[in-house]
Amino acid sequence: MVPAVLLRTAVCVTGRFPALAGVDLAVAQGEVVVLEGPNGAGKTSVLRVCAGLLPLTGGEGTVLGCDLRRDVPALRGRVGMLGHAAALYDDLTVVENVRFAVRAAGADVARIDAALDRLELGGRVRRTPVGRLSAGQRRRVALALLVTRRPELWLLDEPHAGLDADARVVLGEIVSEVVAEGATVLLASHEPEESWPLADRVMSIVGGRVVEERAVASTRRPALPDQLRAVSGGAHVA
């Protein structure tokens, strides 16, 4: 089976600094892989390279069958990223932001309400300009955006950051759902692997390279809600 993401000795230089210094990474379709490592290790850069936002300076990479050196435009719309920043338009309301993104991706507009409900973005909040929302609410909006779009590849950068316990539970449910539908999830996190019962593998990134890779002891099962709740509620230490 063609891997969803394949990086071979990927080198990525931003300015003079080699953010990635030779990353070897393979993620199969439908997998959930966690990237862990200290600050500045290059986790965000890996995600951005996979999104096609950062060009490769050296090595090779293929994402969803598209060569990262030649074919990046073909990736557009198939990859969704939840980055550090919410990437929303402050002057537009929640609904307007989501509707714009959904229409841009050509996804079904009817799913918007369900997604917003799921993330507990109720009636009045929906009509509020995003600029007036709290950081946590903006994160939820960004997540709702992804949920509605349902991309093939999900790239999540510290997804737990800014989300309260309830939202983390919902995130877990969402991840298991989309993976069951065939999506691939690659996420970067500071937290220990117990936070991610859904993960298939964990990769440690240090100094721009993958230094270790291990399978998670618990194989992926449809997680029970209270099991998730117990985990997410307690695991918030970096």
Binding site: R16, E193, S204, V206, G207, G208, R209
Partner: protein, 269 residues
């Protein structure tokens, strides 16, 4: 190692030989042009000795407007076109623009020097001078964009777009200024065509002038290209150092991260 020899030879000895002969040929042709232009050919009846600028100004203008700018524009298009994309075109475009700036400025200066005694003005707003002046500004814009820090690919993209836009704009400017003069009733259209009647030895010298400056351009282009190549090599070697340091991050001592098992890979692979 002698100070004139580069530590890294950027290209083959054959190429070095070609470039060197180009330089020698250019120098010889220029010398011949100067000699013929200043001493051998007769002064014009009307313009007297000022006419000698005809051996210099039109050739320089030709190099600036068509040769340098043309090379820059075509190289940029070839870079933008995915099938022919290669860093060669990007380097060539940048070199052509830099050399082009020099020639464009010289075109304006020689044109101005020629014009002052002839028309009594340092400057006229005729189509050719105006387009040339604008071209200079556009080329400087290209160089400004090139200075913006970033990775080589982004830099090449931005520069190529600037070159392309400029290539499209210069003809438009030329036409519009031309119309400006022909449609403007009542204005004396200054005939910027300073060309005197050319005959005999003057024609040969003019031709030699074109050849000489073309050779000069080719040589300067090659030299500038080599500088570009060398600076890339330098960046690559700096990158190697940076990569080594980055790898050391992985194997050196780190603030203890409980739960993160570090494999000691023992240095760069």
């Amino acid at each position: 190692m002698s100070p004139t020899e580069p530590a890294v030879a950027p290209w083959s000895p054959a190429t070095t030989w070609v470039v060197r002969s180009l330089g020698i040929a250019a120098a010889a042709a220029l010398a011949a042009t100067i000699w013929l232009g200043l001493w051998v050919t007769p002064p014009d009846e009307v313009q007297h000795n000022l006419v000698r600028l005809v051996y210099v100004h039109p050739p320089i203008a030709w190099v600036a407007l068509y040769l340098a700018f043309g090379v820059a524009a075509v190289s940029s298009v070839l870079w933008l076109w995915p099938r022919t994309r290669s860093r060669f075109w990007d380097r060539l475009a940048a070199s052509a623009v830099e050399v082009g700036v020099v020639f464009t400025a010289l075109t304006l200066i020689t044109g101005s020097i020629w014009g002052r005694p002839t028309w009594g003005l340092w400057w006229t707003w005729d189509a050719r001078l105006t387009s040339t002046a604008l071209l200079l500004v556009l080329l400087l814009g290209y160089l400004a964009v090139r200075r913006v820090p970033g990775d080589p690919d982004s830099r090449a993209r931005r520069s190529a777009v600037v070159a392309l836009v400029a290539a499209v704009d210069v003809p438009i400017v030329h036409f519009s200024v031309d119309w400006w003069h022909t449609l403007h009733q009542g204005a004396t259209v200054l005939n910027a065509n300073l060309s005197p009647t050319i005959h005999g030895s003057m024609a040969w010298t003019l031709l030699l002038g074109f050849v000489a400056f073309t050779l000069l351009f080719a040589w300067m282009l090659a030299i500038r290209y080599r500088v570009e190549l060398l600076s890339e090599h330098l960046e690559d070697s700096e990158l190697d150092v940076a990569l080594h340091e980055r790898w050391a991050e992985g194997t050196g001592s780190l603030p203890g991260e409980p739960g993160t098992a570090l494999a000691h890979s023992g240095g760069p692979a």
